[in-house]
Subunit: 606 residues, 2 copies
């Protein structure tokens, strides 16, 4: 049974040795707040909360699930108390402005905190996670009055928030949104419609819930350009800021899901609920897209979280469970059999989990630095600066969301596999991780949506391949810096080949797409996966380079710690990077193979 | 929501056109029983049972699960009635000897029946499936008295059977079995011990349950060579054949599992239960291995079943759900958006499911012919003939079990993915398929165990690579037969390359293994997956060849039916076969990358 332990040594290796967070913080206007002591306090405080408050509720929350009774939703036993501790610790305001009661720290620290929380208990973490989406929207698009009305309690966490986008007929294709917003004489709106899949849409953790809702004005143009954004509080707010009358937005039911059962997924019926326009009329979707990068990276974290948790569950079992003898000879001669960690194939599974968790974490922590710069420019009122970094981040976002969640799901499945038949039994806790992880490739844009965003928009349409040329140029610079280091040679060599291939594939698709538009969709997921393997290789090479340097010159850790990083990097290059070849072969095949079969010929029997 | 429809046109294409079952049946001593009319009656009768009796209980059985109350297990509502219909239809005796009340048909027909049943309702199918294991054991190793005592009611289905192997401390490593069998003065034994994970170990479907139990005699040698096999009936059998007193084998609990919840998985406590030795003392494991091929192919079916069912669920949704526009232009211009089946990436997912289901089915039906020949020799008393075909089959078994269940799980996950967020919701029925499918790579030997069996035993140890040389020689013969057919050229070319690479990889591993024993374990799963992709390519090429011939010369189906086979074959070669490259690259990497990390260095944080 996995019992979460925050991997603080790995976290510090990344923050201090690989990505130089101390130097990074110095480049931010709020960076001086993130001094070494504060960061330490946050890491250790978060670890304590996660290990001792959130992790113990992980399995019980799944067993019990959320309860729905006539519009009311009750979270599982202990969740309310845990949430109160979260609020009391001031965790929700970590990276939100001090003027609303937050601590004003860089948002990367919030992401690092939420990775720990998400690993300890993903379902729990979704409640504050959705609030963040709502808070970001109000901060960026709200009037001063709206900010003053909602932000203090949201920052405190005594209120929570949601994002109400999906409707029964549409999720990805939000142009189909039907929810109506009828203007009222007093400048407010009355909303009518049904939203589904609303995470944290109804629950008992907070005294109010602030919904951010996509809806259409009566005169709105059709499609994506006619959608506006509204703030719809569950309870009206009195003049004095206290919670008042109920607004008619009601929870019709909660979904019975494969996993994340402690997270309430609500159907919300807007029966003439009062809403307040936020941002410009008809520009609601545009506003939503503003947060796409951070929201998607927040979901990419789930890939890391579930790989990590599943690894934490599998490792002790692999050390304890005795079965058969290793092919190269007895490893535990005094025992009835060898521990399964001595079997090469079990190691392959554990190392895959570990390579995904640590490689993915490095990718996330790197993206968090870009997000910090983006946010910092916004705080400084530099929109162009914000857009520059938003654009930078935009290349990483679909890769992180698509690739890391797919690999997180695989890694979680390997956690079951290490346990053999026991992995299939609920009490061991390993199958829950897979059920929880399964949502990650679906929400916040499916893998297919991420892949189209990457190849169609980011790589081909907006940049004609330049993002890949730029990124591989950065990798090649790294390669030439390390080319003369004998221990780095195999990483440098493989990375060089990958960079060449990545560009070649991109150019080939660009040329093909001129005649064959379907190639973009048909190649997209393989292209995304290829890009993910290539990118993760670069991060593992960076970790290996730093580790080798520390072995030579000494670091804060024991040499074995650094040696292990080099060995996992070798594993990654030997055993996971080769998968890129299969994706490369598949993605260049003609789209015709996918498009030629007529819909009615997919089956002749049914 | 998937509503199962038996794919009889696909089944007949395989049986009649691709694998020439009518000619195959003529080679068997009981083959004349399987005339065209009988086969039709069986296919249509099975389809009716599956579509109208078993499929409707699929979701309700998952929702309700099995109930345990003080040693008694109740199956979900409707299961008892469905089982009674199964018994009344004479389905259990289909391929069992007429002398015990069966119909004496070739066992391939039983496998074809059980694929349909398993697709309609895998949990249900496990009850009769486990009986088959018990029946095969008694038929092959029982005395005449034992056969006469147990076989008639087992053949009828009014009694069921189990295989009791696993114990808490061991599953794969059965040498660790501890259950004791103490000899009694009357020639019987008293069994003491606990067995876990006993499928169909306790339930309310039959009036008696006959357990086949692995246990140790007091004087038994340690390890695998000291295990004997016992028949332990739940109720003793009276002189007149009726069910008598309760034997003290009790169900201690049933497991709470990720899926197959309508299948009872029992903990069985043997508290001095009376057992009857079957087969020779200390040779119980050897007896078990006799059925390994058929048992594992029976589990390989699960890969096909869940790919098929998930495809059947995903296809209509993909035709109905409207979202966005295809990149190459509007496909449903009159609608608000295009049906998602027009998106190339959705097609990639559907075609993957279809290629796995149909390619896997071809592999299973082919293996079933080998199994027929094996069984036929046994019936004729030709042990050498039996062993010859058993050995032939032994090459296919681990590939089918390992590869098809891994791909079945992937295909089921794609079924969720086609549905987007809705796939995660229980009521749509898609997530259940994944939960049910997840067991398939674990029981009856994990993928890792299959891979070691394939590479370690079948390819390297027993045959020094000859099985691969022989099999690729057969493929190359097929290639030269079709080399001059322009439409077959790309299949022929890719297959030729794969054959060369498969042999090269095998020789390379053979040479490496002389110095590096761990390479066998470290390369094994990638080698298994490589072999699976190669083998499935051959079956798709065979289907394409037959389909092309029918398009030219006419067949029983419409030309579009055959055209679709060719198009799916092209999809397979373009999009799935390339994965073999990644496996090929990974498997030749040195085992050191897997073995070098010390167990205590897998984590420094926990």
């Amino acid at each position: 049974m996995p019992t979460y332990k925050a991997p603080l040594r790995d976290v510090r290796f990344l923050m201090n040795d690989v990505l130089d967070y101390p130097a990074h913080f110095k480049t931010l206007s709020n960076g001086e707040l993130a001094d070494a002591d504060t960061v330490d306090m946050i890491l250790e405080g978060a670890a304590d909360l996660c290990e001792n408050v959130l992790a113990p509720l992980y399995q019980s929350g799944d067993d019990e699930g959320c309860h729905f009774d006539n519009g009311t939703v009750t979270t599982p036993k202990g969740y309310k108390e845990a949430y109160d501790q979260y609020v009391q610790g001031g965790w929700q305001g970590l990276s939100y402005p001090e003027e609303f009661g937050g601590q004003g720290l860089p948002m990367s620290l919030n992401l690092i905190k939420s990775e720990m929380m998400g690993t300890a208990n993903w379902s729990f973490t979704m409640y504050p996670g959705l609030s963040a989406g709502c808070m970001n929207t109000i901060l960026q698009f709200g009037t001063d009055e709206q900010k003053n009305t909602y932000m203090p309690n949201l920052t405190l966490g005594t209120w929570s928030g949601t994002m109400c986008l999906t409707e029964p007929q549409c999720g990805t294709d939000l142009g189909q949104v039907k929810t109506r917003a009828e203007p009222q004489a007093d400048g407010t709106y009355k909303l009518f419609g049904t939203k589904i899949f609303i995470s944290a849409g109804e629950h008992d953790l907070t005294e109010n819930i602030i919904h951010i809702v996509l809806a259409r004005l009566p005169d709105a143009p059709k499609g994506t350009k006619g959608i506006s954004l509204f703030i719809v509080p569950k309870f009206f707010i009195n003049e004095d800021g206290s919670v008042g009358e109920r607004n008619p937005v009601f929870c019709g039911s909660i979904e019975h899901k494969m996993g994340i059962k402690a997270s309430a997924t609500a159907v919300l019926n807007f029966d003439g609920a009062t809403g307040y326009l936020i941002g410009k009329v008809h520009e609601g979707l545009h506003a939503m897209f503003t947060f796409m990068n951070t929201a998607r990276i927040g979901t990419a974290v789930e890939g890391v979280a579930h790989a990590e948790l599943s690894f934490q569950g599998a490792l002790p079992y692999a050390k304890e469970r005795m079965s058969m003898r290793a092919l190269s000879g007895k490893k535990d001669p005094e025992k009835v059999a060898d521990a399964i960690i001595h079997h090469a194939d079990v190691r392959r599974m554990l190392l895959t989990q570990k390579a995904v968790a640590e490689g993915g974490r490095a990718m996330i922590y790197h993206a968090a630095q870009l997000a910090d710069k983006m946010t910092d420019n916004l705080l400084k009122g530099d929109q162009a600066g914000h857009d520059y970094w938003d654009d930078k981040l935009g290349f990483f976002t679909p890769i992180l969301k698509g690739f890391l969640t797919e690999l997180g799901l695989e890694a979680s499945n390997l956690g079951i596999q290490v346990y053999g038949g026991h992995g299939y039994i609920k009490e061991w806790g390993m199958e829950q991780i897979v059920r929880d992880a399964r949502i990650s490739t679906l929400y916040e844009g499916t893998t297919g949506v991420q892949a189209l965003d990457l190849l169609g928009r980011k790589v081909l349409l907006s940049s004609k391949g330049k993002v890949v040329r730029d990124y591989t140029a950065e990798i090649l610079k790294f390669c030439s810096r390390h080319a003369r280091n004998k221990q780095m040679r195999r990483f440098v060599w493989d990375l060089t080949k990958v960079c060449a291939q990545w560009n070649t594939l991109t150019i080939r698709l660009m040329l093909t797409a001129r005649k064959d538009r379907d190639i973009v969709s048909s190649a997209s997921v393989d292209y995304l996966m290829y890009s993910g393997y290539a990118m993760m290789a670069y991060f593992w090479a960076q970790m290996a380079a730093v580790a080798l340097e520390k072995i030579e010159n000494g670091g804060t850790e024991v040499p074995e710690f650094y040696q292990a990083k080099v060995q996992v990097a070798e594993f990654y290059f030997d055993r996971l990077l080769p998968r890129a070849s299969g994706h490369a072969e598949a993605l260049v095949s003609p789209s015709r193979t996918l498009t030629q079969l007529a819909p009615e010929h997919f089956s002749f029997d049914y």
